[in-house]
Amino acid sequence: MPLQVMRTPRALDLEITSRCNADCSYCYYLNNPDVVYADLPTDSWLRFFRELASCQVMHVTLQGGEPLLRDDFLALVDGIVANRMRYSVLTNGSLLTSRIAGQLQQTGRCDMVQVSLDGSTAEVHESLRGGGTFAPALSAIRLLQDFKLPVTVRVTIHPGNIDDLAEIARLLLRDLQLPSFSTNAASSLGISTKYGSGVLLNTTERYKAVRTMASLDRQYPGRIQANAGPLADWRMFSEMEEARRTGTPVAGRGRLVGCGCIFDSFAVRSDGAYIPCVMLPHMVLGRIGETPLTEVWQNAESLCRLRERRGIALEEFDECRLCAWRSSCTGNCPGTAFTATGDVGRPCPSTCLKRFQEELAAEGLSLWP
């Protein structure tokens, strides 16, 4: 029976520029052979926004690169508003001005501005993001608060900030009084592959990050979000272990169900290529202005195949067959699975609980007593 998919996506991630004024060592986007570094002109985006309106898309997330590098950024925001959508912005904060914040506030349509901040001090934050980036990020957060815009922060966890995580949480949640922030971790995409061990967590570091984030999660209940990285892993692993211990598998798992994004959203690269998500930039589904969005959304072959991966049982994979957590596992993100294995139709080994526990055991560690 074919999968039921909504007629059009509810939301899109739009990489409105491939340019960036930072040079972060773990960027998944820079130095990625699958990304085409070209920007569409204003008119192309504005035409596309009209198409989004005709498809009743409700929300877009503007990202890059650094989206505020576009001179026409506010014109694009106006185009989004004129076409009856809401929006969010992902930024490093360095180019945010009172004028921009004021304009965003005036639209009344901004759901979130996310600023990247990886440390409670310039030394920690700038260790992988480069000199002179901490103060502007902090200023941007305060400016957004002054304009009463919904601001959040994304903390990328890496070997250099694990010992600072408690201080980062204190800065963001107590000192700056943000309602919440989110975390992830660098993955082997883009330029981070070049720096390898300097930016990616090894087993011991990952263990420490998981324990620390679990502790902070208890200290600040409901205020730390995570869709990937140590905290997301901890939550998923805890659920899987509880299911194994009680003999009650989590419903709907045991198959490659790790990604729900492609059922209500997808993404557009800066050069206008439709892609399933920003983690799969090589998987071009069509181009804006050439193929109607509805056609791509409903019929693009590789997108349909990606959705159908939910039907693949984990017992089909040798590495999963004897796993005690298999029936409660989702197989995790197809983007990271592709990075690790070259195949979106496989479970992701880098977020595998069984493998992590085996690596920990080799170090004399365990997630649970």
Binding site: R7, A53, Q56, M58, R86
Partner: protein, 101 residues
């Protein structure tokens, strides 16, 4: 701006708020999205049919008549339900009497 205290009866000619977005998800479900506040309401298939008939020219009585040609079992109770539905939407600013440009 719509008049949220608008008195509505079967002779009212209501139109939908053009700033709202109707997303038809499938035959039985649609979302009514207000981009100004991000609120979303779910509508069933009949509610969508009513919504699509609100053109500012038909009276609600005529809307109910149209429903009668589309569905079986449309009666006085349906008319009361449509009236109640319109009153709730009017309070939200989703329908109203809009001035002609």
């Amino acid at each position: 701006m719509p008049d949220i205290d608008l008195k509505i009866d079967m002779d009212s000619c209501l139109a939908v708020n053009p700033g709202l977005v109707l997303r038809i998800e499938d035959d039985d479900c649609a979302l009514l999205f207000d981009p100004d506040n991000g609120k979303v309401q779910m509508l069933n298939g009949t509610a969508v049919a009513v919504w699509q008939l609100l053109d500012g020219k038909r009276t609600l009585g005529e809307v109910v008549d149209c429903l009668g040609s589309m569905y079986e079992g449309v009666d006085d109770a349906t008319a009361r339900q449509v009236l109640g539905f319109m009153e709730s939407l009017a309070k939200l600013g989703a329908v109203g009497v809009w001035e002609q440009d």
